[in-house]
């Protein structure tokens, strides 16, 4: 049996989710087939998930499809959500991110996606490209945490997480050895975790 450990049973585990309804109980009720609870869950998290999906996928129409797929996956799988394996929001974001990455990789295969991802222009690029961007209360905190990453760590993490690239592709994009890209991604995430005191 797989255990994801490092328990973060509540929303406190993701610093950004401290406000709003109790996602855990909404998820539990959804798992019992409560569509009303799932609607609440959607309302509480759709903007966050869709924001992530758009950052990765870029294309709006495709992003909407991906967000919908993610929520359907959350609906079908919430019966198996285990709070011991991470917070509800982290779980939902993981599903959305995986769907987004799968989408861009398959789209890449058909050349449907703009693949160039300029590391130098990732700095808050979305501020100008996304509408209705809501600045979260703790944005400063996250920015400060990001600032503790070296430029190279941050570049590698962003190419991987937001660019949807594999570590091999990250290495190629940055012109660095394979092992180095892998290490930078991990070290960058570890530093982010430690600075933000994220548990799981």
């Amino acid at each position: 049996m797989v255990i994801m450990a490092a328990v973060g049973s509540g929303d406190e585990s993701l610093p950004t989710a401290a406000v709003g309804p109790d996602l855990g109980s909404l998820l539990t009720r959804s798992a019992r087939g409560d569509e009303g609870a799932f609607a609440e869950l959607y309302d509480a998290t759709a903007a966050r998930l869709h924001g992530l999906v758009v950052r990765v996928v870029r294309d709006r129409a495709q992003s909407e499809e991906v967000t919908q797929e993610a929520f359907l996956d959350i609906w079908t799988h919430c019966t198996r959500f285990d709070p011991a394996k991470g917070s509800p929001l982290s779980w939902m974001l993981t599903i959305a991110h995986r769907k987004a990455v799968d989408r861009v990789r398959s789209a890449e295969a058909s050349k449907a996606r703009e693949v160039t991802y300029e590391v130098t222009t990732t700095e808050r690029e979305h501020d100008s490209t996304l509408e209705k961007v809501e600045v979260r209360l703790d944005q400063q905190r996250v920015r400060r945490a990001l600032a503790t990453l070296t430029d190279t760590q941050r570049g590698a993490v962003e190419l991987a997480y937001l660019g949807g690239h594999t570590h091999t592709e990250v290495a190629a994009l940055l012109g660095i050895p394979l092992g180095t890209a892998k290490t930078r991604i991990r070290d960058g995430l570890i530093r982010l975790r430690d600075t933000l005191e994220v548990t799981a």
Binding site: M1, V2, M4, A5, A6, L14, E35, F38, A39, A46, A47, R48, H50, G51, L52, V54, R55, E64, T67, F71, L72, W75, T76, C78, T79, R80, F81, D82, G86, S90, W91, L93, T94, I95, H126, L130, E131, K132, E134, R136, V142, L146, V157, E158, Y161, L162, G164, T166, H167, K182, I185, R186, D187, L189, I190, L192, R193, V198, T199, A200
Partner: protein
């Protein structure tokens, strides 16, 4: 543990891996609590990268999602894996704790007679033709469902995964070279799986062969260990229910019908 394997935790956490890498790392995750914890934490950390961005999807999407939801059946919760054996028929090891770190000798249970015993068994009759073992060696590529925060039903899991996740999984570990070898056996699943971080390269023309110790039949070939020098995960060919132990010997590279050398490792199930 191979530090190179751990190093993939970051890339894995943010889906920056190929499907092959994902499968391979998930095999590792099954065995490595540290990496499981790290992946969970790094996923949460990565999520903060977009915590400053919220973008409400169009209202129509909400209606569309909820309409689809009302027509979509949810998966059944995962039931605990089947009990190891029917009540009342527990074998001697059915309730046994997985054996943790074992002594760094070839003889798992510390019995010095083991090597001799194995040698004696070589000559017994009734050994299964080793032909099937060749097949086992070809089945190294273990398919895998995505290792995700949600679980998939046991029926979707490969035999290897079922063994590794079984509640009654019996885990036997031995040091080998600079690495560690592990044998996991589940009576409930009826299979065993061999794992190694990095198998030592065998001498030229030789290969490592797996054996089940089956009462009344002696050492029965359970397949060859691929000699990649890399991490290995191989399901043992044959029924792990009746076997009382497993062993590894160095054999000609095409395998042998019976063990022809002293065991380099022995695992006792009892």
């Amino acid at each position: 543990m191979n530090p190179d394997t751990h190093a993939l935790a970051g890339a894995y956490a943010v889906n920056a891996v190929t499907d092959d890498e994902r499968r391979s790392f998930e095999t590792h995750l099954d065995l490595c609590a540290d990496c499981r914890a790290e992946v969970a934490e790094l996923r949460a950390a990565a999520a903060t990268l977009t915590s400053d961005v919220e973008l409400a999807p169009p209202p129509a999407l909400r209606a569309s999602v909820l309409a689809a939801v009302s027509q979509t059946r949810q998966l059944s919760p995962l039931e605990p894996p089947a009990a190891a054996s029917p009540p009342g028929s527990n074998g001697p090891d059915a309730a046994a704790e997985p054996l943790a770190s074992l002594p760094a000798t070839a003889s798992v249970d510390g019995s010095p007679a083991d090597g001799d015993e194995l040698a004696a068994r070589r000559n017994r009759r009734g050994l299964r033709p080793w032909l099937a073992a060749a097949v086992a060696a070809a089945v190294i590529t273990i398919g895998g469902v995505a290792w995700q925060p949600w679980e998939d039903s046991p029926s979707q899991l490969t035999a290897t995964e079922q063994v590794l996740r079984a509640d009654d999984a019996q885990r036997l570990e031995l040091p080998m070279g600079s690495s560690e070898i592990t044998l996991v056996r589940s009576r409930a699943v009826g299979r065993a799986v061999f794992l190694a971080d990095a198998m030592p390269t065998p001498p030229s023309g030789k290969a490592y062969q797996l054996w089940f110790d089956v009462p009344g039949r002696g050492m029965v070939s359970a397949g060859m260990i691929p000699t990649s020098g890399h991490a290995v995960t191989v399901p043992l060919e044959g029924d792990a229910r009746t076997a009382t132990g497993a062993g590894i010997t160095l054999e000609p590279e095409n395998g042998s019908e019976h063990p022809t050398s002293d065991p380099v490792a022995l695992f006792s199930f009892t």
